[in-house]
């Protein structure tokens, strides 16, 4: 029985979260010794199939090319995955809004449990996943014949994007549900790296005071090639849009460097970033809880510190 990874595609590109999901599949396949297949479902899927082919360690790329899959709607994609599920012991997808939307549907249609957000593979049927906003880690064992799993990207280092040469196979498309339709999307455009893929992230909190003041963060971010994030407090205050939110109900990130500016360190925020390698906190309140998780803390007024930081980075 092989393993099936559902590739996340968006705007004609393979999303990087797919590479972390393949890494989790490899951790399982190490024990089972079985092949990993990857499913690419999209309209004009050719270029994405080529990108999937290049991932090392993939035995086969399954391509389902149809306009019905163009926007990754859960209903048709889940129906497709279920039609292919017969030969697989494990079905995995990234724990992103794409994967979370689709995989529980797949699991229910197969009458099996779904295992959400795994961060570690203990055995082919046993996994570690965070519960209570990451305040506890549960080790769970599945009794189902098929394991349907979403993978938290920060738990697994991405596999390389090239070097492989998998076979490609076009799959038959079953009858698809038509009760949902894509209408439109408003995606935030940014030249900066994506939060979930960035090596460095600089986030602002309520202490930023306004959306305009985020330019202080952006200036520093651009000098470091960093992504810009925000706390829920900053998002709820209307400073920045919700797609920048780092935290339990936003994005879970684990960059090499996370700089928290004017963020007090609510549990919900810590749940989203405490996996970062190095954490820096800049806050004028030296009692702020963020300092308890920070490797380097700087107590000071962010409106002075950020311009100084920008200048200091220029000196090198």
């Amino acid at each position: 029985m092989s393993l099936l990874v559902i590739a996340e595609v968006n705007g004609g590109a393979l999303k990087s979260a797919t590479l972390n999901t393949v890494a989790a599949a490899q951790a399982i396949a190490q024990t089972t010794g079985t092949d990993i297949h990857i499913l690419v479902a999209d309209e004009n899927a050719g270029s994405i199939a080529a990108a999937a082919q290049a991932i090392p360690g993939i035995a086969k790329v399954l391509v389902a090319d149809s306009a019905a899959f163009a926007h990754g709607l859960a209903e048709p994609v889940a129906a497709l995955v279920v039609s292919l599920a017969g030969g697989y012991s494990h079905i995995l997808a990234p724990s992103t809004t794409f994967g979370k939307n689709i995989l529980p549907r797949v699991a229910a249609l197969l009458d099996v449990a779904q295992i959400s957000d795994i961060v570690k593979v203990i055995a082919p049927d046993t996994f570690v996943r965070p519960i209570y906003a990451g305040n506890a880690l549960a080790t769970v064992q599945s009794a189902d014949s098929v394991k349907v799993i979403t993978v938290r990207g920060t738990g697994f280092d991405a596999v390389p994007a090239d070097g492989g040469s998998a076979a490609v196979e076009t799959v038959a498309i079953p009858a698809l549900p038509t009760k949902s339709k894509f209408v439109s999307q408003q995606l935030a455009k940014s030249e900066r790296p994506e939060l979930t893929a960035a090596k460095i992230i600089i986030s602002g909190g309520r202490g930023m005071g306004s959306g305009e003041n985020f330019h202080l963060i952006e200036t520093v971010a651009d000098k470091l090639g960093a992504a810009v994030g925000a706390s829920r407090a900053a998002v709820d205050s209307g400073f920045v849009s919700n797609d920048l939110q780092v935290g339990q109900t936003g994005k879970i990130v684990a960059p090499n460097l996370y700089v928290a500016v004017g963020i007090s360190g609510a549990i919900q925020h810590l749940a989203g970033m405490s996996g970062s390698k190095v954490i820096v906190a800049i806050n004028k309140d030296e009692e702020a809880p963020i300092f308890q998780v920070a490797d380097y803390g700087l107590v000071g007024d962010l409106f002075q510190v950020l311009p100084q930081l920008s200048q200091e980075l220029d000196k090198h």
């Binding site: 519960i131 906003a133 460097l257 930081l309």
Partner: protein, 250 residues
């Protein structure tokens, strides 16, 4: 139209979670429980749709131990019309909850089902999608706006890159995200009135659903603790340490 909302009793979001010493779970004795915050948003949305004249009846359903009646009473105080508790001491997992809700929906025939996108205890984020699949309904997950159109609904969804709008035929299922609304506090008169509203208690056996757990929790542990590091004196020291000690910036 009729709306069904799901409400779960969970450890209050302000409680600092402690893992039990024997690693079998988290401490729940003498801990405050409340309605799952995402479910409060679902109840609020249902009540607003009723206030706007789009909805005739709101049924609040909870599943679990007897104390879940309190959670249903909270929903009734917020404006739901009647409640159903599927009472059991079994640890209900998302697939079992979805099957129980499906059995109720088959009887009650609501046009819209609103659930929180996830419960803040097990963080599964599965039940709504599973229920929609079992019903063969369309789903609008992680909703930040719901608009009732002629014979369907439009849902604005919070997705990783921003927002996405989908159109669904009715009946449909929607799971709520944080920015859909701000739930109201129930007023004292409404809390008193809620005590008189109908609340039926049934069992999984009444619905003919096997709720045997599929996942076994082998252990629950504390995550590795981060230690507080050092305070730096100024920006120059910070940049120097990030460059030469941590080596995380060029």
């Amino acid at each position: 139209m009729k709306i069904l909302v799901g409400v779960k009793r969970v450890v209050d979001y302000n409680v600092k979670i402690r893992v039990k010493a024997d690693n079998t779970g988290v401490e729940t004795a003498n801990v405050k429980f409340s309605m799952n915050p995402f479910d409060e948003i679902a109840v609020e949305e249902a009540v607003r749709l009723k206030e706007a004249g789009k909805v005739s009846e709101i049924i609040a359903v909870s599943l679990g131990i007897a104390q879940s009646q309190d959670t249903i009473r909270t929903a009734l105080a917020m404006g739901a019309d009647r409640g159903i508790l599927v009472q059991t001491d079994v640890d209900l997992q998302p697939l079992a909850v979805a099957k129980l809700l499906k059995a109720i929906i088959d009887k009650e025939a609501p046009s819209l089902v609103l659930l929180g996108k996830q419960a803040i205890d097990d963080d599964s984020n599965q039940t709504g999608q599973m229920l929609a699949a079992l019903l063969d309904w369309p789903q609008g997950t992680f909703a930040s706006k719901i608009t009732v159109t002629g014979d369907g609904i439009e849902v604005i969804r919070e997705v990783d890159g921003g927002l996405e709008t989908v159109a669904l035929t009715l009946p449909a299922l929607v799971t709520t995200d944080l920015r859909l609304n701000e739930p109201r506090y129930a007023s004292l008169p409404n809390i008193m009135k809620a005590k008189k509203k109908q609340l039926d208690v049934i069992t999984p056996a009444d619905l003919g659903v096997d709720v045997t757990p599929r996942l076994t929790t082998l252990k629950v542990e504390e995550p590795p603790k981060r230690k507080a590091g050092i305070k730096v004196a100024d920006v120059a020291e910070l940049v120097n340490r990030l460059r030469n000690e941590a080596k995380v910036i060029p």
